[in-house]
Amino acid sequence: MSNTHGMTPTNSAIFGGSLRIPGEKAAAKPVVRATWKPRQRWRAFSSKLFFFTSLMATVLAVAALIYLLQSVAEQGLDRVSWSFITSFPSRFPAKAGVKAALWGSAYLTVLTAAISVPIGVGAAIYLEEFAADSKLRRFIDINIANLAGVPSIVYGMLGLMLFVRICHFGRSLLAGAATMSLLILPIIIVASREALKTIPTGIRHAAFGLGATRWQTVRAHVLPSALPGILTGVILSLSRAVGETAPLLMIGALSYMAFVPETPMDAFTVLPIQIFNWTARPQDEFHVTAAAGIIVLLALLLTVNALAIFLRMRYQRKAQW
């Protein structure tokens, strides 16, 4: 923004000191300059050093990922086939498949999304757009941030107590999804709030200035603009839920299932638990099966993440200011 009127910057100077009377001139003084030590070579060297260090950090991270993918692929790629995806687990390693676990993971993800997205996005809208800046709100803020850092096994214990026992959901898909929802709610809330924060206040003021209520403002202008950011947060937190094992072990997801769950009250298993089960077996053949399971899980996660990136790019082109 240019300062077309040429007044703004001088105000503070004027109010800080005395008014300068036009025509009055300061007496000429000899100019004294400080000595400067540019240390040009050290600065150039340290810049290069930092470039190299950060490059190494990147290379290391990528190398670790490539090594992981390569060793898993070497072990299990031959084992991945259509029948591996469409078969139930078996005590014969060559016949075992991931059908029950894959469907369990898919159902669990959908059910978790159905529970956590409305609650998480709703809470974010309340905290960001409606709640007044009070002590209670700041207390909630701190707690949500802390909840995001609670170990997942603790959520498993809470889920076992609350959903399996008290709510009588049993060791069901619904209990698993509710537990997973608790786990990812803080992440969804934080990500959605960040997305809402990026929407310029000018848009909100424009709407309020036209006689809009808060909800009309949020519904028509803030939420649509924040949607790509919210979607990205939701999908990334769901992909975390897909990969979690500990809380589901805690609430008692099965490790051997020869059927696909049909209702939310059915027992279930998921890919990470299936993989964990296979790696714990003594037979080497099962380790190959586990590697194949890991490939399926990674493919699923990468697909979900790619979807997040695609959605973000697609909607981001539309809104810009």
């Binding site: 923004m1 009127h5 007044m7 309020f208 200035g209 202008h221």
Partner: protein, 264 residues
């Protein structure tokens, strides 16, 4: 520089009817007081300019006239502001209804990130406008002197327009609500001289229909467009009166120093 104090201020009383009456208004943000004991009457169908150096409280005073200060949680307003004779800070006053009648144009152009047409129609839509939307879009854009430039591309994004066009779109959006009063918070400070001139000419036409209160940093602009000028300094109203009088024969020394460019 000494503060003038309320009793020493020169406040002219224009003749009724008034669009807005400000009575003993104080606005504070936490412990800092932004507006001190300001009283002034804004007559209907005039343009009133609020001038003064940065931080003098003129924008704060403007935003308290349609309760936009409600969105600053630390802001506290005392005193009363009468619109159509009733206090907008009364317990039973509804700020949403108020803002429908007192429109606002902001310093930075802030069109909605939707089409030009939707920018105009959204406000009337949520407030139950029953007329012809096509006519409303055309008449609002015409009054904002923007119609000829956008007539063929009403479906395009408001953000694709130039800064000056965006600001006129924001004015058209405010006009479409057919408010009584339009508040403008330095509407030209982000614009080039050509766009500024267009908007100034526009204001002179708009006052036939609306009352306009405009905050400006630009004294020449205040002089060109306004009927009355209020000069504020450090939260206080120093002088309020017909624009010619304030600029040519100011009663207060502080006003004289400011309008002659000795500070600010």
């Amino acid at each position: 520089m000494v503060n003038v104090g309320k009793d020493q201020a020169t406040v002219f009383e224009p003749s009724a009817p008034y669009a807005i009456e400000v009575n003993d208004v104080n606005v504070s943000y936490g412990t800092s007081r932004a507006v001190l004991d300001v009283s002034l009457k804004i007559p209907e169908h005039t343009i009133v300019a609020l001038i003064g150096p940065s931080g003098c409280g003129k924008s704060t005073l403007l935003r308290s006239m349609n309760r936009m200060n409600d969105f600053v949680s630390s802001a506290k307003v005392t005193g009363e502001i009468l619109f159509r004779g009733s206090n907008i800070y009364a317990d039973d006053a509804d700020p949403v209804l108020l803002r429908r009648q007192i429109g606002m144009v902001f310093q930075k152009p802030n069109p909605f990130p939707t089409s030009i047409r939707k920018n105009i129609t959204w406000g009337p839509g949520i407030n139950g406008f029953q007329g012809d939307y096509n006519k409303l879009v055309e008449s609002s854009l015409r009054r904002a002197a923007l119609w000829d430039e956008v007539a063929g591309k009403l479906g395009e994004s408001g953000l694709a327009l130039s800064g000056g066009q965006q600001q006129r779109l924001c004015i058209a959006r405010a006009i479409a609500m057919d408010p009584d009063v339009i508040l403008m918070d330095e509407p030209c400070s982000a614009l080039d001289p050509g766009s500024t001139l267009k908007i100034e000419n526009l204001l002179l036409e708009l006052k036939e229909r609306f009352t306009i209160v405009i905050v400006t940093h630009n004294m020449q602009q205040a002089r060109r467009v306004s009927d009355y000028t209020a000069f504020m300094y450090q939260g206080e109203l120093v002088e309020f009166g017909p624009t010619d009088g304030v600029f040519e024969t100011p009663k207060q020394e502080l006003t004289r120093d400011y309008v002659s460019g000795r500070f600010g």
